[in-house]
Symmetry: C2
C-alpha cells in the first residue's frame, strides 16, 4: 500500500491511497482525514485502506483520479517526533574529516542520532526556502520509517514490529552551521532546516525482499542540477532500523507517528558516488588536498529517487529547488 497527502489548505493535508504504479489515487479522507490519524488508528484503519489499495491496483476503485505528485505535501506534513540517525558509518567517518571534529565515542557499537524538527516537513516538489547561500546548503538523501507507538526499552528484535511505513527523504543541511553546533554538544538545530519527503510512504511489503534485515536495499539515485551525483545503496546501513528505533526508545516511549531516519545513504565503494555534497568534498580533500565542489546556490535543483531492480520508483521522486527565504514582513 502507498499513501500520500494532498494539499488542502490544512496543516495535515488530505490522505490519499496511491496505486502501486503511481498513476492513480483515491481520496480516503472520509476514512482517515490525514496520515497522522491513520497511523494512530492503524490496527483498525490499515485493513480498510488496504482494501482500497487493492481495488485501486486492480483498476476498480471508486473515485480514482490521476495521481499528481505536484499536489503532494510530505506524506506526514508534520508529526510529533523526528529522530535522524547516522547509520552509514562510511558517511560518519568522512564527515568527521569534513568537519574536523573529534572521533565519536562508541561509534561502531552505539548509533548516533539527533532529534530533528517535526513541525514543518516539505513536500516532494515544494521550494526550499533558506536564508543565505553562505550557510553551505547541502542535501542528504536518506531512507526512513514511520512507527506506531513503541514502549520504553523495546529491544531491537521487537522494535521492527512497530514499523508501519517506509519513506524516502532529503535531510537538508547547512554545513557552515554544523561544526559549531556539534562542538556545543547540544547538537544540530539551525544546521537542520525543514526536511523533505518523497510523495508516497509505503508499507514494507511494497518492496518485496528489498526490505530485509530492517534495511531498504535499493539504490538511491541523486541528481544535482540534472547531473548524476550518486546512487548509493541503502542495504549498507551499519545499524538497521530495528537498532535505531530501540536506540530512540531506550529512555522514553515513542508515540505513533514518530519518524526515524537512516542518515545519509553512503557506500564504502566510491563507484556509488555520494548522497550529499559534504561527502564528495571530503573525498576531494583526500584526493586533491582541497574541496573542488561548492555547495548549492539559490536556484539549484536536486532530484532523488530510489530505484527497484525492475526500474520502478517505489517512493516516487523528490525534485526541489532551493530559493531565497527573504526577510519576514518585507
Amino acid at each position: 500500500m502507498k499513501l500520500a497527502t494532498y494539499r488542502n489548505g490544512r496543516p495535515d493535508g488530505c490522505l490519499m491511497v496511491v496505486s502501486r504504479d503511481l498513476a492513480s489515487a483515491v481520496d480516503v479522507s472520509a476514512l482517515a482525514p490525514d496520515l497522522l490519524h491513520a497511523i494512530q488508528g492503524w490496527e483498525r484503519l490499515a485493513p480498510q485502506l488496504q482494501q482500497i489499495s487493492d481495488a485501486l491496483n486492480e483498476g476498480c476503485a471508486t473515485g480514482a483520479i490521476v495521481f499528481e505528485p505536484a499536489r503532494c505535501m510530505a506524506p506526514l506534513p508534520r508529526t510529533f517526533q523526528w529522530c535522524d540517525a547516522s547509520a552509514f558509518l562510511n558517511h560518519g567517518r568522512l564527515m568527521e574529516r569534513a568537519f574536523n571534529t573529534a572521533p565519536i565515542p562508541d561509534f561502531e557499537s552505539v548509533p548516533v542520532m539527533y532529534q530533528g524538527a517535526a513541525d514543518d516537513f516539505l513536500g516532494p516538489h515544494d521550494a526550499v526556502p533558506l536564508p543565505d547561500e553562505a550557510l553551505g546548503i547541502d542535501f542528504e538523501g536518506e531512507f526512513g520509517v514511520i512507527v506506531g507507538s513503541v514502549a520504553m526499552g523495546t529491544p531491537p528484535s521487537r522494535a521492527l514490529e512497530a514499523v508501519r511505513l517506509l519513506v524516502q527523504l532529503n535531510d537538508w543541511s547547512l554545513r557552515a552551521l554544523g561544526p559549531r553546533e556539534m562542538k556545543s554538544g547540544f547538537g544540530f538545530l539551525q544546521a537542520k532546516p525543514s526536511t523533505s519527503f518523497a510523495p508516497v510512504a509505503i508499507t514494507p511489503d511494497e518492496l518485496g525482499d528489498a526490505w530485509r534485515d530492517g534495511r531498504v536495499h535499493l539504490d538511491l539515485e541523486v541528481e544535482w542540477n540534472g547531473q548524476a551525483f550518486g546512487h548509493p545503496n541503502g542495504g549498507e546501513m551499519n545499524f538497521g532500523f530495528g537498532e535505531l528505533i530501540a536506540h530512540a526508545a531506550r529512555t522514553r516511549r515513542l508515540s505513533a507517528g514518530t519518524v526515524i531516519g537512516s542518515g545519509t545513504v553512503s557506500n564504502v565503494s566510491r563507484d556509488a558516488g555520494s548522497a550529499c555534497i559534504a561527502e564528495r568534498r571530503v573525498i576531494e580533500i583526500i584526493d586533491h588536498g582541497e574541496p573542488r565542489t561548492a555547495f548549492m546556490r539559490f536556484g539549484d535543483r536536486v532530484r532523488m529517487r530510489a530505484r527497484a531492480s525492475g526500474g520502478e520508483l517505489p517512493f516516487g521522486i523528490i525534485e526541489q529547488q532551493v530559493v531565497c527565504a527573504g526577510v519576514p514582513g518585507a
Copy 2:
C-alpha cells in the same frame, strides 16, 4: 488567563480555563477541544477564552467546577516542536565543569539550544518512569514559552510578539548519558526523557511586571524529597525568550505550538541554591574535591513551584515521583 488540560483518554486531553487562584475551572472543549487547537486558532479563540476566564475570576462562569491538578496532563500533552536552550550561563559554565566538556564556542553571544522530544510530555503529578537508577536521574527546573507561528529569520525584537503562553517545566535528565551524547556532536537524545509541565499555562499578563524583557522574574522553588533544594530567580537569564525564539527560527519557520525552554534556572549567587542536582554536585567538587550529593533513586519525589511576590503560585505545582519503567511486555 490560565489554561490546563484534563485527562480524557485522548492524547491531547480536554482544554480547561482555570481561575487565577487555581480554585475553579471550566471545560471549554466545546470552543477548542485541546490547547493545540487553541494555539493554532489563537487570534479567533483567545478573546472567547478570555471572556470565560474573566467570568470565572468574577465567580460567575457557567459550568465552573473545582480545579483538580491531579487530573491534569501537561497543558500541551504533545506538540510538534520543543526546543530547549541553556540561557542561564552560570548553569552552562558549571555543567562544563561537571561534564568535563570543551568550552562551547561563542557561548556568551550565541544561545545554545537542543531539539527535544515533543511527542509525550508528562503532567504535573504523573509518575516519571525511567529504566535505571544508574543513569544519573536528575531534574532541571525551567521556564518556557509556547509560541504562535514564527517566520524564518524573525529578529529577537519581533519574536517576543509570538509568545502566547508561559509555562513552568521540569526537563528530566539522565546525567550518565549526557557526556557521551554531547561528545558525539549530535546532542541530547537518550539523556533527555519526557519533560514534565506545571498544571497551567498562562498568558504573560498574569505575571504583571514579573514578565518583562522576555524573562520570568520569579523564584523557582525546588524541593527534593521534601527538603528545600534551591530557589533561583528566572530574571537572570543571559538571553531572553526573544533571543531564544529568534535563534530557533533562524533557518526555519516555527509552527504554532512550538515550546521554547529557558534551560535550568540558575543564579550566580550561591544563596539561591540550584534547580538541578548536577549543578550542586559540581559546586561540591569545587568546594570539597568530590560530589557529595547522589542523583535520584526510584521512589524519590521532586516539587517545583514558581512563587510570585505576593506568595501566589502562578503556574501551580509540579510534584512527581520517579518510578522504575519496567520491561516492555513483562
